[in-house]
C-alpha cells in the first residue's frame, strides 16, 4: 500500500508559490503533506512468527511435553511499536523564488530530483510579469524599500518605453550570442539563431530573450519578460534601469513567474492542492511533456557541440558540463520515459 503510493511519486511537478512564503517553507510543507498522505494508508496485517514451544502432545498417554511449532502473533512490526512507515522524502526544488516574488516553481520528488539537474542544464527560458512603479527610487529596488529619490514622470510615453525595451532586448540578444560561443558565420548557427534556439554555454549573467510592455497606465506599467539565468533581484534592478533610461526613476512592486520551462500557470498546484493525490496526478500529467522537452534540449546540445566557432579557444570548462548534461540527460530521459 505504501509502496504503491511511493512508486507513483517520482517525477517533477509545479507548485504556485504565494508571495510572502519562503521557498524552503514551501518545500517543507509539501514534504509534510506527502508524508501525511503516505502514512495515512492502511497498516499491514498483523504478523505472525513461528516459535517452538513446549506443549502437551495430543493423543499420548503420558503427560509429556514436547516441542511443537506454533504460530504466535508478533507485535514487532505493529505501527505503534515501529512508528510511522515514512519519515522523510527526497524533494528538491528547481529555480528558486525569493520571499516577495510569487509564481510557478518546479519541484522534484524521488528520482525526479535528477531531472531537475537536467532542466537546469537545458537552460530553458522562464516567463515573468513584472509590475513597475514610476516616480520612486529605493535602495533595494522594491516598493517598500528605503526611499532614495522621488521624480516626476509626466514626460514618459508608451513609445519611449517601447523603444527602450527594444534596445534592451537587442543588447541582451548580442550577449546571448557571445555567451553561447557560436560562430554566427556558419549557416547552421544562423538558422538556429533565427529559430531562437541559442542557449548560453556556461554560467552567464541574466539574459533577456524577450521583453515587452503589456500595460502602461502611469505611474504603473506591466512588463512581460522572457529570460534565463536570472534572479528576481536582477529583474527588479532591470526595472530600475528602465526608469533611469526614461530619465525618471522606477521601482518594482511585484515579480511573478508565469512559466518555468514547460510548466505554466495552469499546471501549478495551489496551496489547497498540496496533498498526496493531487501531486501524484500532477506528476503523471507532466511526465510526458518533461521527457519530450528534455530530449529536445539534449538533441540541441549535441547539435551545438559541432558548431563551436574558431574564436572560442576550447575553454576547458566548456565541454565537460555539456557532456555531463548529456550523459545524465540521456540516463534521466530514459528514466523519465520509463516512469511516465
Amino acid at each position: 500500500m505504501g509502496a504503491a503510493g511511493v512508486a507513483r511519486l517520482h517525477g517533477l511537478f509545479a507548485a504556485y508559490k504565494p508571495p510572502g512564503l519562503h521557498w524552503k517553507h514551501l518545500r517543507d510543507t509539501v514534504e509534510l503533506q506527502l508524508l501525511k498522505g503516505l502514512n495515512a494508508r492502511k497498516p499491514p496485517a498483523p504478523q505472525q512468527r513461528v516459535r517452538f514451544l513446549l506443549g502437551p502432545v495430543e493423543g499420548s498417554e503420558e503427560k509429556e511435553l514436547t516441542l511443537t511449532a506454533t504460530s504466535v502473533p508478533s507485535l514487532t512490526n505493529h505501527p505503534l511499536v515501529r512508528g510511522p512507515a515514512f519519515t522523510s522524502l527526497k524533494i528538491g526544488m528547481g529555480h528558486r523564488l525569493d520571499v516577495q516574488a510569487s509564481g510557478v516553481v518546479v519541484l522534484g520528488v524521488g528520482q525526479g530530483c535528477s531531472l531537475l539537474t537536467d532542466m537546469y542544464h537545458a537552460h530553458l527560458t522562464k516567463d515573468y510579469t513584472v509590475l513597475g512603479l514610476l516616480g520612486k527610487a529605493t535602495d533595494d529596488f522594491r516598493e517598500d524599500g528605503r526611499l532614495v529619490e522621488r521624480t516626476t514622470y509626466d514626460h514618459v510615453t508608451r513609445e519611449k518605453l517601447d523603444r527602450i525595451l527594444t534596445v534592451i532586448q537587442g543588447s541582451h540578444q548580442k550577449a546571448l550570442v557571445t555567451y553561447s560561443h557560436l560562430d554566427l558565420q556558419t549557416q547552421e548557427a544562423y538558422e538556429m539563431a533565427v529559430k531562437g534556439l541559442i542557449r548560453p554555454m556556461n554560467k552567464s549573467p541574466m539574459l533577456v530573450t524577450g521583453i515587452r510592455c503589456l500595460r502602461f497606465a502611469p505611474p504603473e506599467f506591466l512588463l512581460e519578460v522572457q529570460c534565463m539565468n536570472e534572479t528576481q533581484k536582477q529583474l527588479r534592478s532591470l526595472v530600475h534601469e528602465i526608469g533611469l533610461a526614461l530619465k525618471t526613476t522606477a521601482v518594482c512592486s511585484h515579480v511573478r513567474r508565469t512559466r518555468d520551462g514547460c510548466f505554466t500557470l495552469d499546471d501549478a498546484l495551489l496551496r489547497t492542492q498540496w496533498n498526496l493525490n493531487s501531486i501524484q496526478d500532477a506528476i503523471q500529467a507532466a511526465a510526458p511533456r518533461v521527457a519530450a522537452e528534455l530530449e529536445k534540449n539534449l538533441r540541441l546540445q549535441l547539435g551545438t557541440q559541432q558548431l563551436q566557432g574558431p574564436g572560442w579557444q576550447g575553454d576547458n570548462e566548456g565541454p565537460s558540463p555539456a557532456l555531463e548534461g548529456r550523459t545524465a540527460g540521456g540516463a534521466a530521459v530514459d528514466k523519465g520515459q520509463s516512469c511516465a
Binding site: L54, V81, G83, P84
Partner: protein, 415 residues
C-alpha cells in the same frame, strides 16, 4: 544478586543437581565460550566487577526486565543487568513442574563447592529435544521493538493504544516500562484513570503523552484530584482537563495552586470565569507562563485594546493567550491597517487572531478585487469577520464572495 525465576531445562532435573546449582554456577557456565546447554540465559555480568555497563549512552535502553509475570525476583542494587527471559505468551500455559526459587537456595558459601557442569556430558535425545534455545535478547538496544514480543507489559500497553515508538525516544521512560509489572503497578494506575472518567479509547493517547505518570505515587495523584475538587471543579470538568492536558496530574498541589492564582490575578476575571477558561484550555496550567504575560502586555500596549475588551476576547477564544507574538502583531497589522477594521469590530470577532494570516489575506484581496470588501456593520453588504475566516473555501466562494471556486483559484494565481 537476584535472578528471575526461569524455566529450568529438563536435563537439570535428571542430573539431580537442582539444589546445588547456584547463580555462580550458571554464570560461570555462561562465561564459557561455545554453545552451552544453558544457552538461554543471556549475558549477565558479575555484580562486583563490571561497572562498565553502568556507562550507557543516552540512546541505549538497558534492559533489566522481569519477563515472567510469576517472577519472584527481588530488586538488586540496580547494577545487575539481567536480560534473561522466559516466555510468557499465553499459548504456553504450562510451566515445568519445578521452578526452583533460587533466592532461597543460593548462598554465597555455595559458590565454590559444586563442580561446574560440563557441556561435553552426553545427553539423551529426548532431553536434547526439549532444550529450548531461543536467541538471547540484546542486553541493550535503542528501540523497544526488540523486547515487545517478550514482555507482557509492553504487549498489553500496545493493545491499549500506547505509542511505544514515541516513548522509546526517552530512554528513562522506556527503561521504566521494561521494569514495570503490569499486574502490580500499571493496573492500579489504569483503574485510577478510569475512575477519573477517561475512556478506554483515550487511555492510550494519555499514556503516550504523559509517560512519566508511571513513576508517580498513586497517593499523590489522588491528593491532586482531591485538591481540584476542593476548588469546585466538577468531576466532568476534571476529566476534561486531564484528558486535554495529560501533564496536569504530574504537577504538585502547590504548583497547581500557584498557577491558578496567577491566572486569577493576571486576567482579573471572577472565579467562575477563570474556572471555565481553565477547563476549556487546561494547557494554560501546564504550559509556560511567560508567553501569557507577554501576550497580555502586547494586547494592552502594542495593539491598544482596553482591559475589558481583552477580557471579553479571552473568554471567547482562550487560545489567544498562548498565541505567537509575531503572528499576532502581523495579523492585527493587516486586519486593522489594510482591511481598516476598527478595534470595536475586532473585539466582537476575536477568531481572526486564531486564523492563518495567509487565509485572511487571500480572502480579503479577493473580496477587494470583487468590490465586496465591506466590514462596517453600519453599511450595506456587510461581511462579518468570523464568516470571513472560519467558513471553508466552497461556502466562502458561493455565499460571501458570490463567485465560483475556479474564479477564486484563478485569482490566487494572479497574486
Amino acid at each position: 544478586m537476584a535472578l528471575s525465576a526461569q524455566r529450568i531445562p529438563r536435563w537439570l532435573n535428571s542430573i539431580k543437581l537442582n539444589s546445588l546449582i547456584t547463580a555462580a554456577q550458571l554464570r560461570s557456565h555462561y562465561r564459557r565460550p561455545g554453545p552451552t546447554l544453558l544457552h538461554r540465559l543471556s549475558a549477565r555480568p558479575q555484580v562486583s566487577s563490571d561497572n562498565g555497563f553502568l556507562q550507557w549512552g543516552l540512546k541505549t535502553v538497558r534492559t533489566s526486565s522481569k519477563w515472567n509475570s510469576t517472577s519472584q525476583c527481588t530488586k538488586s542494587s540496580g547494577q545487575e543487568i539481567d536480560s534473561a527471559q522466559s516466555t510468557t505468551l499465553p499459548s504456553v500455559s504450562e510451566q515445568p513442574q519445578k521452578t526452583p526459587n533460587f533466592d532461597s537456595e543460593l548462598s554465597l558459601e555455595d559458590l565454590d563447592d559444586v563442580p561446574p557442569l560440563s557441556p561435553l556430558q552426553p545427553v539423551s535425545e529426548q532431553e536434547a529435544v526439549r532444550i529450548i534455545a531461543d536467541p538471547p535478547l540484546p542486553p541493550d538496544s535503542f528501540t523497544l521493538r526488540d523486547y515487545v514480543d517478550h514482555s507482557e507489559t509492553l504487549q498489553k500497553l500496545v493493545l491499549l493504544g500506547v505509542d511505544l515508538s514515541k516513548i522509546e525516544k526517552h530512554p528513562e521512560a522506556a527503561n521504566l516500562l521494561l521494569r514495570l509489572d503490569f499486574e502490580k503497578d500499571i493496573n492500579q494506575l489504569l483503574l485510577f484513570l478510569k475512575d477519573l472518567g477517561i475512556e478506554d479509547s483515550q487511555l492510550g493517547a494519555f499514556l503516550t503523552k504523559n509517560y512519566a505518570i508511571f513513576s508517580e505515587d498513586l497517593e499523590n495523584l489522588k491528593t491532586r484530584v482531591a485538591y481540584l475538587q476542593s476548588k469546585s471543579f466538577s468531576k466532568s470538568d476534571i476529566t476534561q482537563m486531564v484528558r486535554k492536558a495529560p501533564f496536569l496530574l504530574s504537577f504538585s498541589v502547590e504548583r497547581l495552586d500557584n498557577r491558578l492564582g496567577f491566572f486569577q490575578k493576571e486576567l482579573e476575571l471572577n472565579v467562575k470565569k477563570t474556572r471555565d477558561l481553565v477547563v476549556r484550555l487546561p494547557r494554560l496550567l501546564t504550559g509556560s507562563l511567560e508567553p501569557v504575560k507577554e501576550n497580555m502586555k502586547v494586547y494592552r500596549l502594542e495593539l491598544g485594546f482596553k482591559r475589558n475588551e481583552i477580557q471579553h476576547m479571552i473568554t471567547q477564544i482562550p487560545k489567544m493567550l498562548t498565541a505567537n507574538k509575531r503572528k499576532l502583531t502581523e495579523t492585527f497589522d493587516f486586519v486593522h491597517n489594510v482591511m481598516s477594521v476598527p478595534h470595536h469590530v475586532i473585539v466582537r470577532f476575536p477568531q481572526v487572531f486564531n486564523a492563518r494570516l495567509f487565509k485572511v489575506k487571500e480572502r480579503h484581496l479577493f473580496l477587494a478585487y470583487l468590490g465586496r470588501a465591506q466590514y462596517d456593520p453600519a453599511k450595506a453588504n456587510y461581511i462579518s469577520l468570523d464568516k470571513l475566516v472560519s467558513v471553508p473555501d466552497e461556502i466562502f466562494c458561493e455565499e460571501i464572495a458570490k463567485a465560483s471556486v475556479q474564479d477564486f483559484e484563478k485569482f490566487l494565481k494572479t497574486l
